[in-house]
Amino acid sequence: MRKKSDTLPHGSEATPEFEKAAQRKESRRGFLLAFPSYLYLVIFFVIPLAIVLVYSFATRNRFGGTDLSGWNLESYEKIAEPIVRTILFRSLWLAFLTTIICLVIAYPFAYFLSTRRPSIRNVMLVFVMIPFWTNFLVRNYAWRVILGNDGPFTNVTEFLGLGTNELLFSQKAVVLGLVYGYLPFMILPLYAAIERIDGRLIEASRDLYGSGWQSFRHVLLPLSMPGVIAGSILVFVPSLGAYVTPEILGGAKTTLLGSYIVTQFLTARNWPFGAALSFVLMTVMLVTTIIYFRKGGRTL
């Protein structure tokens, strides 16, 4: 795209000095436009991030307070302890499971959507957008009501002779809540990727005696890969840091990384350890995202 600095000021000859001066002026304008947000993010984002890093090296004193002098790596060493490792692996596993389930449901759905007539497709998309915009807390709470004692789900299982369900407060309920919460995040990028594919390529593969599976495996899937990766990151990342869902639908045995970090601050009062854990969580997210951007997919 052409930048504004390409245009010449009125009534001037294109002398090199003038052009340089004009460029400097444009550069100053750009900087002034960016400056308020820049300053805001430095004060209220970069400095807080630095404080977390400092806290993660600090020591917890006997009263639950934090000693900022005397830096050490204790909090990071604590991550290797069995209890913490269990929670870490459980979080990774449940986030992975959520991502796979979302992918399995969303891929055929996105394909289905992209083969509809445009008029119907727009209506269908609107009904995917609505949950995307709807309050996450409320949507998770709805499942608490449904799965709860004497709730509609129990009525169904009892009617079918399966007995009372024990789904609520289990890991299954947490995965269900996460899938419900983040499914739109998988559908939308997948749809965006599949919709852009030229349908004639699939026709060509079928004409050349490719089976349905082969067309999918060698044509559709590779071409839609940017959507698969984008959707997977958009689901995996928030699932790993989930706090609200395990808090509402999970029980004692379903503590995930997000809730565990919150516990360190609100109940256990081990701030340095909580800071170290949040820093690790953030690093995992950043690395995942950077890998994605490096692979050249920018189709979020």
Binding site: E26, Y141, G151
Partner: protein, 276 residues
């Protein structure tokens, strides 16, 4: 893609079934929640005759109404400031080159990809120190509440607004702006009369997104809100953890309605984006 590549036979049937399943999965829980909010039964998941009692209880509760009005106040302030800062940032990144642009670009993405919990922890520790510093320097004692919550919401919303406005700017040709400047419009006038009307749908979309995110946030708000001053989602989250009651059903439906209203408005903004 065209409909000609739709599979036939069992694959076609499976795709249709999956499609219906997704919509059922999305909407059945919401519909049931709305239904139960009108149920007389004290059991949250059981039908027991029609009533408005729980909504009445909500409007009678000072705490709940207070939390709702806090949420609205914060959302309005946050939206206004985030839209101004976010739009300026978007213009700077799409229309200008300046020193430090790449760093700014990367910094602007961070609040979007950082996990909620990490950002909540960051701001909790920050305000602990920040208020101490303010007290030491200015002698003013500040407490967490309106200020800390608004500041935190703006910190992530600037990024979301700028992404939405940038998308609009990127898809727009600069020809008209250049023509205006060639016809002796000042840069400000060119922005005011040419660029601004064109990016207005993007700004409206960004504003609605900022408002939605502000109204919905639980995790970050919970960490930076003070005793006795909280927002509706944090209030509801606290109630849920104490045990589910029909009152929560009613509040949830009110929050649901607010979300739906914002979706409708954002779809209208999108429509004018296409035609405008």
């Amino acid at each position: 893609m065209s409909s000609s590549v739709e599979p036939r036979g069992w694959a076609k049937a499976a795709l249709h079934v999956n499609g219906w399943f997704v919509y059922l999965f999305f909407y059945a829980p919401i519909v049931l929640l709305v239904l139960f909010s009108f149920s007389e039964s004290r059991n949250v998941g059981k039908w027991g005759g029609f009533t408005f009692d729980w909504y009445q209880q909500f409007f009678d509760s000072n705490n709940a109404r207070g939390a709702l009005s806090n949420s609205v106040k914060i959302a309005l302030v946050v939206t206004l400031i985030s839209v101004i800062l976010g739009t300026m940032a978007a213009l700077a990144l799409e229309r200008f080159t300046f020193r430090g642009k790449q760093v700014f670009d990367a910094l602007l993405y961070l609040p979007i990809i950082i996990p909620d919990v990490t950002m909540a922890v960051m701001l909790l520790l920050f305000f602990g120190q920040f208020y101490d510093v303010i007290e030491a320097v200015f002698g003013i004692q500040m407490r967490k509440g309106f200020g800390s919550i608004s500041i935190s919401h703006i910190a992530f919303n600037i990024s979301f607004v700028s992404v939405v406005v940038r998308a609009r700017l990127a898809g727009m040709s600069t020809d008209l702006e250049e023509a205006a400047v060639d016809l002796y419009a000042s840069r400000w006038k060119a922005f005011r009369y040419v660029t601004f009307p064109q990016i207005l749908p993007g700004i409206a979309g960004g504003a609605l997104l900022a408002m939605t995110l502000s109204l919905d946030d639980v995790v970050i708000t919970q960490f930076v809100s003070g005793p006795g001053w909280t927002t509706l989602p944090v209030y509801v989250f606290g109630l849920i953890r104490k045990g589910v009651t029909p009152l929560i059903n009613a509040i949830s439906v009110i929050m649901l309605l607010a979300s739906m209203l914002l979706v409708v408005l954002s779809l209208l903004a999108q429509r004018s984006r296409r035609t405008g």
